[in-house]
Protein backbone atom coordinates (compact mmCIF):
# COMPACT_ATOMS: atom_id res chain seq x y z
CA UNK A 1 0.00 0.00 0.00
CA UNK A 2 1.21 3.46 -0.92
CA UNK A 3 -0.55 6.79 -0.52
CA UNK A 4 0.02 7.37 -4.23
CA UNK A 5 -1.63 4.12 -5.38
CA UNK A 6 -4.86 6.02 -6.02
CA UNK A 7 -3.17 7.83 -8.89
CA UNK A 8 -2.48 4.66 -10.91
CA UNK A 9 -4.91 5.55 -13.71
CA UNK A 10 -3.67 9.15 -13.78
CA UNK A 11 -0.06 7.94 -14.03
CA UNK A 12 -0.84 5.76 -17.05
CA UNK A 13 -2.76 8.53 -18.78
CA UNK A 14 -0.05 11.10 -18.14
CA UNK A 15 2.66 8.74 -19.42
CA UNK A 16 0.77 8.27 -22.69
CA UNK A 17 0.57 12.06 -23.17
CA UNK A 18 4.25 12.67 -22.48
CA UNK A 19 5.20 9.78 -24.76
CA UNK A 20 3.62 11.66 -27.69
CA UNK A 21 6.12 14.53 -27.46
CA UNK A 22 6.67 17.50 -25.16
CA UNK A 23 4.83 17.62 -21.84
CA UNK A 24 1.85 19.96 -22.40
CA UNK A 25 1.32 20.28 -18.63
CA UNK A 26 4.98 20.94 -17.82
CA UNK A 27 5.74 23.79 -20.22
CA UNK A 28 8.33 26.13 -18.73
CA UNK A 29 8.79 29.65 -20.06
CA UNK A 30 12.59 30.07 -20.05
CA UNK A 31 12.15 33.70 -20.91
CA UNK A 32 8.98 35.75 -21.20
CA UNK A 33 9.54 38.57 -23.64
CA UNK A 34 6.16 40.25 -23.90
CA UNK A 35 2.47 39.48 -23.49
CA UNK A 36 2.62 37.54 -26.77
CA UNK A 37 6.13 36.06 -26.99
CA UNK A 38 8.24 33.68 -24.92
CA UNK A 39 11.16 31.30 -25.23
CA UNK A 40 10.39 27.69 -24.35
CA UNK A 41 13.07 25.02 -24.54
CA UNK A 42 15.31 27.33 -26.56
CA UNK A 43 12.54 27.97 -29.10
CA UNK A 44 10.66 31.24 -29.77
CA UNK A 45 6.92 30.78 -29.37
CA UNK A 46 3.88 32.96 -29.86
CA UNK A 47 1.62 32.81 -26.83
CA UNK A 48 -1.90 31.95 -27.94
CA UNK A 49 -2.89 30.23 -24.71
CA UNK A 50 -2.84 32.70 -21.82
CA UNK A 51 -5.54 34.75 -20.10
CA UNK A 52 -3.75 38.04 -20.60
CA UNK A 53 -6.63 39.38 -22.72
CA UNK A 54 -5.66 43.06 -22.64
CA UNK A 55 -1.93 42.35 -22.64
CA UNK A 56 -1.46 44.42 -19.47
CA UNK A 57 1.27 42.23 -17.91
CA UNK A 58 3.84 44.39 -19.71
CA UNK A 59 1.94 47.68 -19.56
CA UNK A 60 4.53 50.39 -18.70
CA UNK A 61 2.19 52.22 -16.32
CA UNK A 62 1.34 49.04 -14.40
CA UNK A 63 5.01 48.05 -14.18
CA UNK A 64 5.99 51.52 -12.98
CA UNK A 65 3.30 51.52 -10.28
CA UNK A 66 4.40 48.09 -9.05
CA UNK A 67 8.09 49.10 -9.04
CA UNK A 68 7.50 52.30 -7.09
CA UNK A 69 5.36 50.48 -4.54
CA UNK A 70 7.87 47.69 -4.20
CA UNK A 71 10.55 50.18 -3.18
CA UNK A 72 8.21 52.07 -0.87
CA UNK A 73 6.18 49.29 0.80
CA UNK A 74 8.38 46.21 0.55
CA UNK A 75 8.03 42.75 -0.92
CA UNK A 76 5.16 41.32 1.12
CA UNK A 77 2.68 41.98 3.92
CA UNK A 78 3.44 38.77 5.86
CA UNK A 79 -0.01 38.81 7.38
CA UNK A 80 -3.73 38.19 7.00
CA UNK A 81 -6.23 40.93 6.23
CA UNK A 82 -7.62 40.60 9.76
CA UNK A 83 -4.20 40.95 11.38
CA UNK A 84 -1.31 43.05 10.03
CA UNK A 85 -2.02 42.49 6.30
CA UNK A 86 -4.37 45.38 5.55
CA UNK A 87 -2.55 48.39 4.09
CA UNK A 88 -4.32 51.52 2.95
CA UNK A 89 -3.75 50.39 -0.65
CA UNK A 90 -5.84 47.24 -0.07
CA UNK A 91 -8.71 49.43 1.13
CA UNK A 92 -8.27 51.82 -1.79
CA UNK A 93 -8.29 48.94 -4.28
CA UNK A 94 -11.50 47.65 -2.71
CA UNK A 95 -13.08 51.08 -2.97
CA UNK A 96 -12.00 51.43 -6.59
CA UNK A 97 -13.37 48.00 -7.47
CA UNK A 98 -16.70 48.81 -5.82
CA UNK A 99 -16.81 52.07 -7.81
CA UNK A 100 -15.84 50.31 -11.04
CA UNK A 101 -18.79 47.91 -10.66
CA UNK A 102 -21.15 50.53 -9.16
CA UNK A 103 -21.50 48.40 -6.01
CA UNK A 104 -21.19 49.42 -2.38
CA UNK A 105 -18.57 46.87 -1.22
CA UNK A 106 -15.65 44.83 -2.44
CA UNK A 107 -13.36 42.21 -0.92
CA UNK A 108 -10.04 41.16 -2.39
CA UNK A 109 -8.32 37.78 -2.12
CA UNK A 110 -4.82 36.51 -2.95
CA UNK A 111 -6.06 34.50 -5.98
CA UNK A 112 -9.22 34.11 -8.05
CA UNK A 113 -9.49 30.52 -6.84
CA UNK A 114 -9.58 31.73 -3.25
CA UNK A 115 -12.14 34.39 -4.13
CA UNK A 116 -14.59 31.67 -5.15
CA UNK A 117 -13.67 29.52 -2.18
CA UNK A 118 -14.04 32.43 0.22
CA UNK A 119 -17.23 33.91 -1.19
CA UNK A 120 -19.16 30.68 -1.78
CA UNK A 121 -18.19 29.08 1.53
CA UNK A 122 -18.82 32.38 3.29
CA UNK A 123 -22.25 32.99 1.77
CA UNK A 124 -23.70 29.49 1.93
CA UNK A 125 -23.80 27.07 4.84
CA UNK A 126 -25.20 23.62 5.57
CA UNK A 127 -28.79 24.94 5.74
CA UNK A 128 -28.61 26.55 2.28
CA UNK A 129 -28.91 25.43 -1.33
CA UNK A 130 -26.44 26.25 -4.09
CA UNK A 131 -27.37 25.70 -7.73
CA UNK A 132 -24.43 25.76 -10.14
CA UNK A 133 -24.15 25.66 -13.90
CA UNK A 134 -22.77 22.28 -14.98
CA UNK A 135 -19.81 23.93 -16.72
CA UNK A 136 -18.65 25.98 -13.74
CA UNK A 137 -14.93 26.15 -12.91
CA UNK A 138 -13.27 23.83 -10.38
CA UNK A 139 -12.92 26.70 -7.90
CA UNK A 140 -16.72 26.99 -7.78
CA UNK A 141 -17.12 23.27 -7.17
CA UNK A 142 -14.48 23.44 -4.43
CA UNK A 143 -16.14 26.48 -2.85
CA UNK A 144 -19.45 24.60 -2.82
CA UNK A 145 -17.83 21.65 -1.10
CA UNK A 146 -16.23 23.83 1.52
CA UNK A 147 -19.58 25.51 2.25
CA UNK A 148 -21.33 22.30 3.30
CA UNK A 149 -24.46 23.50 1.46
CA UNK A 150 -26.71 21.21 -0.54
CA UNK A 151 -25.43 21.52 -4.10
CA UNK A 152 -27.47 20.92 -7.26
CA UNK A 153 -26.10 21.17 -10.81
CA UNK A 154 -28.24 22.47 -13.65
CA UNK A 155 -27.76 22.10 -17.39
CA UNK A 156 -25.24 24.44 -18.91
CA UNK A 157 -26.62 27.84 -19.92
CA UNK A 158 -30.22 26.69 -19.49
CA UNK A 159 -32.39 29.10 -17.48
CA UNK A 160 -35.35 26.73 -18.08
CA UNK A 161 -33.46 23.86 -16.47
CA UNK A 162 -32.51 26.07 -13.51
CA UNK A 163 -36.17 27.04 -13.16
CA UNK A 164 -37.21 23.38 -13.11
CA UNK A 165 -34.58 22.40 -10.53
CA UNK A 166 -35.44 25.36 -8.29
CA UNK A 167 -39.11 24.36 -8.53
CA UNK A 168 -38.25 20.80 -7.46
CA UNK A 169 -36.72 22.14 -4.25
CA UNK A 170 -40.12 23.59 -3.38
CA UNK A 171 -40.77 26.92 -1.66
CA UNK A 172 -39.90 26.70 2.01
CA UNK A 173 -37.85 29.09 4.02
CA UNK A 174 -34.45 28.26 2.57
CA UNK A 175 -31.77 30.41 0.96
CA UNK A 176 -30.84 29.57 -2.59
CA UNK A 177 -27.67 30.81 -4.26
CA UNK A 178 -27.38 30.44 -8.05
CA UNK A 179 -23.87 30.52 -9.54
CA UNK A 180 -23.00 30.98 -13.21
CA UNK A 181 -19.97 32.30 -15.07
CA UNK A 182 -19.99 35.20 -17.51
CA UNK A 183 -17.62 33.87 -20.18
CA UNK A 184 -16.83 30.16 -19.90
CA UNK A 185 -13.11 29.48 -20.03
CA UNK A 186 -13.09 26.28 -22.08
CA UNK A 187 -15.59 26.76 -24.93
CA UNK A 188 -15.67 30.59 -24.90
CA UNK A 189 -19.46 30.77 -24.70
CA UNK A 190 -21.31 33.32 -22.56
CA UNK A 191 -24.20 32.96 -20.10
CA UNK A 192 -27.62 34.52 -20.73
CA UNK A 193 -27.29 36.45 -17.46
CA UNK A 194 -30.52 38.44 -17.96
CA UNK A 195 -32.54 35.23 -18.31
CA UNK A 196 -30.86 33.66 -15.28
CA UNK A 197 -31.62 36.85 -13.34
CA UNK A 198 -35.32 36.55 -14.23
CA UNK A 199 -35.39 32.94 -12.94
CA UNK A 200 -33.58 33.81 -9.70
CA UNK A 201 -36.02 36.69 -9.10
CA UNK A 202 -38.98 34.38 -9.68
CA UNK A 203 -37.70 32.00 -6.99
CA UNK A 204 -36.39 34.63 -4.57
CA UNK A 205 -32.85 33.29 -4.94
CA UNK A 206 -29.49 35.09 -5.02
CA UNK A 207 -27.34 35.28 -8.15
CA UNK A 208 -23.54 35.18 -8.20
CA UNK A 209 -21.75 35.64 -11.54
CA UNK A 210 -18.10 34.71 -11.93
CA UNK A 211 -16.73 37.23 -14.44
CA UNK A 212 -13.13 35.96 -14.23
CA UNK A 213 -12.69 35.84 -18.01
CA UNK A 214 -15.08 38.64 -18.93
CA UNK A 215 -13.98 41.65 -16.85
CA UNK A 216 -12.26 44.13 -19.16
CA UNK A 217 -13.60 42.21 -22.14
CA UNK A 218 -17.43 42.54 -22.14
CA UNK A 219 -19.76 45.45 -21.41
CA UNK A 220 -19.61 49.13 -22.32
CA UNK A 221 -17.29 49.90 -19.42
CA UNK A 222 -15.64 46.46 -19.17
CA UNK A 223 -17.61 45.21 -16.16
CA UNK A 224 -18.36 41.93 -17.88
CA UNK A 225 -21.13 39.84 -19.37
CA UNK A 226 -23.78 40.96 -16.84
CA UNK A 227 -23.21 44.56 -17.93
CA UNK A 228 -23.36 43.57 -21.60
CA UNK A 229 -26.72 41.88 -20.91
CA UNK A 230 -27.94 44.95 -19.04
CA UNK A 231 -28.49 42.75 -16.00
CA UNK A 232 -25.99 44.15 -13.47
CA UNK A 233 -28.73 45.41 -11.15
CA UNK A 234 -30.06 41.86 -10.72
CA UNK A 235 -26.70 40.30 -9.93
CA UNK A 236 -26.14 40.05 -6.18
CA UNK A 237 -22.46 39.09 -6.23
CA UNK A 238 -19.80 39.40 -8.91
CA UNK A 239 -16.62 37.38 -8.46
CA UNK A 240 -13.53 38.00 -10.55
CA UNK A 241 -9.80 37.76 -10.77
CA UNK A 242 -6.77 39.99 -11.25
CA UNK A 243 -4.85 37.29 -13.11
CA UNK A 244 -6.51 37.65 -16.49
CA UNK A 245 -7.36 41.04 -18.05
CA UNK A 246 -5.85 42.87 -15.08
CA UNK A 247 -2.49 41.18 -15.66
CA UNK A 248 -1.52 40.44 -12.06
CA UNK A 249 -2.67 37.93 -9.46
CA UNK A 250 -5.50 38.01 -6.94
CA UNK A 251 -9.27 37.78 -6.85
CA UNK A 252 -12.24 39.83 -5.72
CA UNK A 253 -15.95 39.94 -5.07
CA UNK A 254 -18.20 43.00 -5.30
CA UNK A 255 -21.72 43.35 -3.97
CA UNK A 256 -24.26 45.88 -2.78
CA UNK A 257 -25.71 43.60 -0.11
CA UNK A 258 -25.78 45.77 3.04
CA UNK A 259 -24.23 43.01 5.18
CA UNK A 260 -21.58 41.93 2.67
CA UNK A 261 -18.63 43.05 4.82
CA UNK A 262 -19.57 40.50 7.49
CA UNK A 263 -17.77 37.97 5.28
CA UNK A 264 -14.50 39.56 6.39
CA UNK A 265 -15.12 37.95 9.77
CA UNK A 266 -16.63 34.70 8.53
CA UNK A 267 -14.90 33.61 5.34
CA UNK A 268 -12.03 31.28 6.20
CA UNK A 269 -10.19 31.55 2.85
CA UNK A 270 -10.22 35.34 3.37
CA UNK A 271 -9.10 35.29 6.99
CA UNK A 272 -6.54 32.53 7.10
CA UNK A 273 -4.17 33.53 4.34
CA UNK A 274 -1.71 36.35 3.77
CA UNK A 275 -2.95 39.40 1.90
CA UNK A 276 -1.90 40.47 -1.60
CA UNK A 277 1.60 41.90 -1.87
CA UNK A 278 1.72 45.72 -2.13
CA UNK A 279 3.24 45.63 -5.63
CA UNK A 280 0.40 43.39 -6.86
CA UNK A 281 -2.16 45.78 -5.43
CA UNK A 282 -0.46 48.71 -7.15
CA UNK A 283 -0.39 47.06 -10.58
CA UNK A 284 -4.05 46.04 -10.30
CA UNK A 285 -5.13 49.58 -9.34
CA UNK A 286 -3.28 50.91 -12.38
CA UNK A 287 -4.70 48.20 -14.65
CA UNK A 288 -8.24 49.17 -13.57
CA UNK A 289 -7.47 52.75 -14.62
CA UNK A 290 -6.12 51.50 -17.95
CA UNK A 291 -9.39 49.68 -18.62
CA UNK A 292 -11.27 52.91 -17.92
CA UNK A 293 -9.11 55.25 -19.99
CA UNK A 294 -8.12 52.98 -22.88
CA UNK A 295 -11.24 51.51 -24.50
CA UNK A 296 -9.11 50.88 -27.59
CA UNK A 297 -7.65 47.85 -25.75
CA UNK A 298 -11.08 46.21 -25.93
CA UNK A 299 -11.52 47.22 -29.56
CA UNK A 300 -8.17 45.64 -30.54
CA UNK A 301 -9.02 42.52 -28.59
CA UNK A 302 -12.32 42.03 -30.38
CA UNK A 303 -10.79 42.74 -33.79
CA UNK A 304 -8.16 40.08 -33.16
CA UNK A 305 -10.76 37.65 -31.80
CA UNK A 306 -12.92 38.08 -34.90
CA UNK A 307 -9.90 37.65 -37.20
CA UNK A 308 -8.69 34.39 -35.65
CA UNK A 309 -12.21 33.01 -35.22
CA UNK A 310 -13.10 33.53 -38.87
CA UNK A 311 -9.65 32.36 -39.99
CA UNK A 312 -10.01 29.03 -38.17
CA UNK A 313 -13.65 28.63 -39.00
CA UNK A 314 -12.96 29.23 -42.72
CA UNK A 315 -10.34 26.47 -42.60
CA UNK A 316 -13.09 24.10 -41.55
CA UNK A 317 -12.22 23.64 -37.89
CA UNK A 318 -15.06 22.99 -35.50
CA UNK A 319 -15.07 25.77 -32.88
CA UNK A 320 -16.66 25.71 -29.44
CA UNK A 321 -18.69 28.90 -29.71
CA UNK A 322 -19.15 32.18 -31.55
CA UNK A 323 -16.58 34.99 -31.54
CA UNK A 324 -14.92 35.66 -28.18
CA UNK A 325 -11.30 35.99 -27.06
CA UNK A 326 -11.45 32.29 -26.18
CA UNK A 327 -11.49 30.11 -29.27
CA UNK A 328 -11.83 26.40 -28.58
CA UNK A 329 -10.81 24.19 -31.49
CA UNK A 330 -12.49 20.82 -31.07
CA UNK A 331 -10.40 17.73 -31.67
CA UNK A 332 -11.81 14.31 -32.59
CA UNK A 333 -10.02 12.51 -29.73
CA UNK A 334 -7.65 12.89 -26.82
CA UNK A 335 -4.78 11.41 -28.88
CA UNK A 336 -5.49 13.72 -31.84
CA UNK A 337 -5.50 16.72 -29.50
CA UNK A 338 -2.15 15.79 -27.93
CA UNK A 339 -0.59 15.19 -31.37
CA UNK A 340 -1.97 18.45 -32.79
CA UNK A 341 -0.77 20.37 -29.74
CA UNK A 342 2.78 19.02 -30.19
CA UNK A 343 2.84 19.89 -33.89
CA UNK A 344 1.65 23.45 -33.19
CA UNK A 345 4.25 23.78 -30.48
CA UNK A 346 7.05 22.68 -32.84
CA UNK A 347 5.86 25.39 -35.24
CA UNK A 348 6.28 27.96 -32.47
CA UNK A 349 2.64 28.37 -31.40
CA UNK A 350 1.62 27.71 -27.81
CA UNK A 351 -2.07 27.05 -27.11
CA UNK A 352 -3.71 25.37 -24.10
CA UNK A 353 -4.35 21.65 -24.32
CA UNK A 354 -7.60 20.86 -22.51
CA UNK A 355 -8.60 17.25 -21.92
CA UNK A 356 -11.42 15.50 -20.07
CA UNK A 357 -12.35 15.40 -17.23
CA UNK A 358 -11.15 19.02 -17.08
CA UNK A 359 -13.47 19.88 -19.97
CA UNK A 360 -17.23 19.75 -20.39
CA UNK A 361 -18.89 16.97 -22.42
CA UNK A 362 -15.66 14.90 -22.40
CA UNK A 363 -14.28 17.19 -25.14
CA UNK A 364 -10.64 17.35 -26.18
CA UNK A 365 -9.82 20.94 -27.04
CA UNK A 366 -7.06 23.20 -28.23
CA UNK A 367 -7.95 26.34 -26.36
CA UNK A 368 -6.63 29.47 -28.01
CA UNK A 369 -6.86 32.84 -26.41
CA UNK A 370 -6.55 36.04 -28.34
CA UNK A 371 -5.03 39.17 -26.82
CA UNK A 372 -5.36 42.87 -27.56
CA UNK A 373 -1.56 42.81 -27.81
CA UNK A 374 -1.38 40.30 -30.68
CA UNK A 375 -0.18 41.91 -33.91
CA UNK A 376 -1.94 41.05 -37.18
CA UNK A 377 1.12 39.07 -38.36
CA UNK A 378 0.99 37.00 -35.16
CA UNK A 379 -2.69 36.23 -35.64
CA UNK A 380 -1.83 35.15 -39.20
CA UNK A 381 1.05 33.00 -37.93
CA UNK A 382 -1.30 31.23 -35.49
CA UNK A 383 -3.90 30.71 -38.24
CA UNK A 384 -1.28 29.40 -40.66
CA UNK A 385 0.13 26.95 -38.09
CA UNK A 386 -3.40 25.57 -37.59
CA UNK A 387 -3.83 25.30 -41.36
CA UNK A 388 -0.56 23.43 -41.86
CA UNK A 389 -1.06 21.04 -38.95
CA UNK A 390 -4.71 20.58 -39.87
CA UNK A 391 -3.71 19.42 -43.35
CA UNK A 392 -0.75 17.30 -42.12
CA UNK A 393 -3.02 15.43 -39.75
CA UNK A 394 -6.00 15.25 -42.07
CA UNK A 395 -8.21 17.03 -39.53
CA UNK A 396 -9.14 19.60 -42.15
CA UNK A 397 -9.64 18.92 -45.83
CA UNK A 398 -7.06 20.77 -47.89
CA UNK A 399 -9.12 20.86 -51.05
CA UNK A 400 -12.39 22.16 -49.68
CA UNK A 401 -11.92 24.09 -46.46
CA UNK A 402 -14.57 26.66 -47.31
CA UNK A 403 -17.22 24.05 -47.94
CA UNK A 404 -16.42 22.35 -44.64
CA UNK A 405 -16.67 25.66 -42.85
CA UNK A 406 -20.12 26.19 -44.27
CA UNK A 407 -21.20 22.72 -43.23
CA UNK A 408 -19.99 23.39 -39.68
CA UNK A 409 -22.07 26.53 -39.34
Amino acid sequence: MDLFDKFAALTTQYASIVEAGADPFGVCMDDIRSATEAVVGGQDVILAGTNNYLGLTFDPACIRAAQETLSRAGTGTTGSRIANGTYSAHRLLEQELADFFACTSAMVFPTGYQANLGIISGLAGPEDYILIDAHCHASIYDGCRLSGATVIRFRHNSPADLDQRLSRLGGGDTNKLVIVEGLYSMFGDIAPVDEFAAVKNKHGAYLCVDEAHSVGVYGDTGRGVAEAANASADVDFIVGTFSKSLGSIGGFCVSSHPKFDLLRLASRPYMFTASLSPANVASVRTALQQIRIRPELRRNLWQNAAALHSGLSDLGFSLGAGVSPIIAVQMPSREAAVDFWNRLFRKGVYVNLALPPGTPNSSSLLRCSVLAAHRPDQIEQIRRAFEEVGIETGIIDKSQPARLAQAAQ
Partner: protein, 83 residues
Protein backbone atom coordinates in the same frame (compact mmCIF):
# COMPACT_ATOMS: atom_id res chain seq x y z
CA UNK B 1 -31.91 -6.20 -4.88
CA UNK B 2 -35.33 -6.13 -3.30
CA UNK B 3 -38.34 -6.33 -5.59
CA UNK B 4 -39.36 -2.67 -5.37
CA UNK B 5 -35.92 -1.47 -6.38
CA UNK B 6 -35.68 -3.81 -9.37
CA UNK B 7 -37.45 -1.38 -11.79
CA UNK B 8 -35.12 1.42 -10.63
CA UNK B 9 -32.15 -0.87 -11.21
CA UNK B 10 -33.34 -1.65 -14.73
CA UNK B 11 -33.86 2.02 -15.63
CA UNK B 12 -30.48 2.96 -14.16
CA UNK B 13 -28.80 0.24 -16.24
CA UNK B 14 -30.45 1.71 -19.35
CA UNK B 15 -29.09 5.18 -18.50
CA UNK B 16 -25.62 3.68 -17.99
CA UNK B 17 -25.52 1.84 -21.33
CA UNK B 18 -23.94 4.73 -23.29
CA UNK B 19 -20.97 4.47 -20.91
CA UNK B 20 -20.63 0.73 -21.34
CA UNK B 21 -18.94 0.32 -24.75
CA UNK B 22 -17.36 -3.01 -23.75
CA UNK B 23 -20.84 -4.33 -22.96
CA UNK B 24 -20.03 -5.71 -19.51
CA UNK B 25 -22.91 -7.08 -17.48
CA UNK B 26 -23.98 -4.39 -15.03
CA UNK B 27 -24.77 -5.62 -11.52
CA UNK B 28 -25.48 -3.75 -8.28
CA UNK B 29 -21.80 -4.24 -7.42
CA UNK B 30 -20.54 -2.58 -10.61
CA UNK B 31 -18.24 0.29 -9.69
CA UNK B 32 -19.57 3.25 -11.71
CA UNK B 33 -16.28 5.02 -12.47
CA UNK B 34 -14.03 1.97 -12.01
CA UNK B 35 -15.79 -0.58 -14.23
CA UNK B 36 -17.56 1.64 -16.77
CA UNK B 37 -15.99 4.16 -19.16
CA UNK B 38 -17.26 7.27 -17.46
CA UNK B 39 -15.22 10.12 -16.02
CA UNK B 40 -16.03 12.10 -12.91
CA UNK B 41 -17.74 14.92 -14.86
CA UNK B 42 -19.81 12.53 -16.98
CA UNK B 43 -21.08 10.91 -13.76
CA UNK B 44 -22.46 14.28 -12.73
CA UNK B 45 -24.17 14.62 -16.13
CA UNK B 46 -25.66 11.17 -15.64
CA UNK B 47 -27.01 12.26 -12.26
CA UNK B 48 -28.91 15.11 -13.99
CA UNK B 49 -30.53 12.52 -16.26
CA UNK B 50 -31.54 10.49 -13.21
CA UNK B 51 -32.94 13.57 -11.49
CA UNK B 52 -35.08 14.36 -14.54
CA UNK B 53 -36.19 10.75 -14.99
CA UNK B 54 -37.56 10.64 -11.42
CA UNK B 55 -38.33 14.33 -10.84
CA UNK B 56 -36.05 14.38 -7.78
CA UNK B 57 -32.99 16.27 -6.55
CA UNK B 58 -29.83 14.23 -5.99
CA UNK B 59 -27.47 16.75 -4.36
CA UNK B 60 -23.77 16.53 -5.19
CA UNK B 61 -23.01 16.08 -1.49
CA UNK B 62 -24.78 12.72 -1.68
CA UNK B 63 -23.05 11.69 -4.88
CA UNK B 64 -19.65 11.53 -3.23
CA UNK B 65 -20.94 8.56 -1.23
CA UNK B 66 -22.20 6.73 -4.32
CA UNK B 67 -19.68 4.26 -5.66
CA UNK B 68 -21.57 1.34 -7.12
CA UNK B 69 -24.70 1.01 -9.24
CA UNK B 70 -26.40 -0.47 -6.16
CA UNK B 71 -25.51 2.67 -4.13
CA UNK B 72 -27.12 4.85 -6.82
CA UNK B 73 -30.24 2.70 -7.01
CA UNK B 74 -30.68 2.81 -3.22
CA UNK B 75 -30.25 6.61 -3.21
CA UNK B 76 -32.88 7.03 -5.93
CA UNK B 77 -35.22 4.65 -4.12
CA UNK B 78 -34.84 6.49 -0.86
CA UNK B 79 -35.28 10.00 -2.28
CA UNK B 80 -38.05 9.16 -4.75
CA UNK B 81 -39.83 7.24 -1.97
CA UNK B 82 -39.61 10.15 0.47
CA UNK B 83 -41.05 12.62 -2.03
Amino acid sequence: MQNDVEPIFQRTCALLQPFNPRGIEISPDTDITGDLEIDSVAVLDLIMEVEDEYGISLPMNLISEIRTVGDLVRAIHQIAGAK
